[in-house]
Amino acid sequence: METDRRTLLRWLGKSSVFAAFVAQIGAAARAFFPNVLYEPPSTFNLKKPEDYPQGYTFDSDHRLFVIRGAATVHVISAICTHLGCTVQWRGTEFDCPCHGSRFDANGNVISGPAPPPLPWFEVSLSPDGLLEVDSAAAVPEGSALTTPTAKA
């Protein structure tokens, strides 16, 4: 069947108007995915290693635990890997108040619904001697920072 020019142009005209309409809906939807976020950076400084007592210290600003050993420091996330509640340190294990997940002293799952263990974060020493944590970089369990100034 042959299409004459008038029919084709009419079809093109209607289609382009409709396409513009659909594109505008897409553009409006895109606005809801923010391009600029005013969120805290994933790399931040804590206090100096020697400012932390031996054992487990909860940092409420960054929702993590700073764990100071005899000559090492490491950082474990306090955000439950199940659905994001803050876990609590109970002397021997981390427990979650929302759905009952339990993690051992190294963050490994003992029981409960949490799928993976609590991540360890990369921790280094900034030039002015502060602990520098990168919460976007998980490191394998056991990778602790050896503190040069640690007074055992």
Binding site: F32, F33, P34, L37, E39, P40, F58, S60, D61, R63, H82, L83, G84, C85, T86, Q88, D95, C96, P97, C98, H99, G100, R102, G112, P113, A114, P115, P116
Partner: protein, 433 residues
């Protein structure tokens, strides 16, 4: 004077004085307030014991929620810094602000309960069948809308419950495969719960969701009318059909194949007769007003006796111990707590199974149920029809299961989400921070 006022009022609203039955019917159609009712309704549809008027009660709550909600909007500030304070102001500084907020809260919880019980009524009376399947589906959408309104609503005070509910809720969304992260990013307006999140949930709660629910509700009502009334009239219709009819005086057109469809005589014998119907006003309107007033007074009484819960201000560092969802979501909290599956080294989170898959399966079952119902038409519009006993049993068992999970979550869960008997002592927790 009084008659003058009456005359003016009539002129404004109802410029019509009925002199006959027919004119009275037309008068309803011509009245500003009554024209959205049919002129006549079947007497059987108005029965108290058949429908228990649960839908009307739920709709009354929705009206109360809309009005109290708009009033609350004059006091509430959707900012993470001021939201909690504005709720405290409502509690302590605004005259009757506490009652206003209480009534909004108790009406909301009542609506969740009544919408569910209304659905149970429709199920147990087999009223979702035949031509009413579409309205059953609209009803499911309304149930979901009600739940979403509740969820977005209790986030707004920006207390601990609000903060941790958003955190857990959006993490459940993110555990969905493929689109999970995108949905979470869209809901939160970022990676963390913050100002963008509150504003999004606020707009969803005060405009978007109510608009959708109002439109669906209007459609729900319109469908009830188009389906001829409640399913209870099907028995009356069957009775009328069985009665011997006088021969039609004129021959039907379709006899000669001139027009398609059913003849006029046959059409009239399918419907209800004059004696089955009553005028909408006052028979329907009076009952509706009674139900509304009863519901309003119950919510008001509850609001005077009990205060709506408000936890401490949102604290991103510390999760309450235990952190409990409101009663209508606590069964989901039980599910996500116990459905993580380990298959060797492979783990599927309870967030996906208990938070998305199980509710998804229940929802799919509700949607598909009418299409697999093979019981005879006589089960339509009858409470606990013999032919539907097994179906009713399945619905009851699932409902009881959900209720048991709710009771376990509400009364047996203690600190760290451990199980305790209600009478057993719970450990005293050290102060965090």
């Amino acid at each position: 004077m009084a008659t003058d006022l009456q005359r003016v009022w009539r002129k404004l609203t109802w410029p019509w004085s009925p002199l006959s039955e027919r004119e009275a019917s037309e008068a309803i159609v011509r009245n500003l307030w009554l024209h959205w009712f049919p002129a006549k309704v079947s007497g059987r549809s108005l029965s108290w014991s058949y429908s228990l008027w649960l839908g009307t009660a739920a709709a009354s709550l929705f009206v109360i929620l809309t009005v109290t909600g708009v009033m609350l909007m004059f006091f509430y500030v959707p900012s993470t810094e001021r939201a909690y304070g504005s709720i405290k102001d409502l509690q302590y500084a605004v005259s009757f602000g506490r009652v206003l907020r209480n009534q909004h809260r108790w009406s909301a919880e009542g609506m969740v309960a009544l919408v569910f019980i209304h659905m149970a009524r429709v199920f147990f009376t087999g009223a979702y069948r035949g031509s009413r399947v579409l309205n059953w589906l609209v009803g499911i959408a309304l149930l979901l809308g009600t739940l979403m309104l509740s969820f977005t609503g209790y986030l707004l005070p920006w207390d601990q419950l609000a903060y941790w509910a958003i955190t857990v809720g959006t993490n459940i969304a993110s555990s969905a495969p493929l689109l999970g992260w995108t949905v979470q990013y869209l809901l939160l307006g970022g990676h963390f719960v913050g100002q963008q999140t509150l504003l999004r949930f606020y707009v969803l709660h005060v405009f978007f969701l109510p608009a959708v629910v109002w439109m669906l509700f209007a459609y729900h009502m319109w469908r009830v009318r188009k389906d001829g009334g409640l399913a209870a009239i099907e028995a009356v219709r069957a009775e009328r059909r069985a009665e011997p009819k006088p021969m039609p005086r004129s021959k039907s057109y379709s006899l000669f194949g001139l027009t398609p469809g059913t003849s006029v005589a046959v059409m009239s014998s399918m419907g209800l007769e004059e004696r089955d119907q009553v005028a909408s006003s006052p028979n329907l309107t009076r009952r509706m007003i009674l139900v509304f007033l009863a519901v309003f007074n119950v919510t008001l009484l509850l609001s005077l006796l009990f205060n709506a819960p408000l936890e401490g201000p949102a604290n991103p560092a510390v999760t309450p111990n235990p952190a409990k969802a409101p009663w209508y979501f606590v069964w989901l909290q039980e599910l996500v707590s116990s459905t993580t599956i380990h298959l060797g080294s492979f783990t599927i989170s309870g967030g996906l199974i208990g938070g998305i898959l199980v509710p998804g399966v229940l929802l799919a079952a509700l949607i598909l149920w009418p299409f697999f119902d093979r019981s005879p038409a006589s089960a339509e519009g009858v409470w606990f029809a013999r032919t539907r006993t097994r179906q009713n049993a399945v619905f009851t068992i699932i409902s009881i299961g959900i209720i048991i999970l709710i009771i376990v979550g509400l009364y047996l869960r203690g600190p760290y989400w451990h199980l305790y008997w209600p009478w057993s002592r719970r450990p005293v927790l050290p102060q965090v921070l």
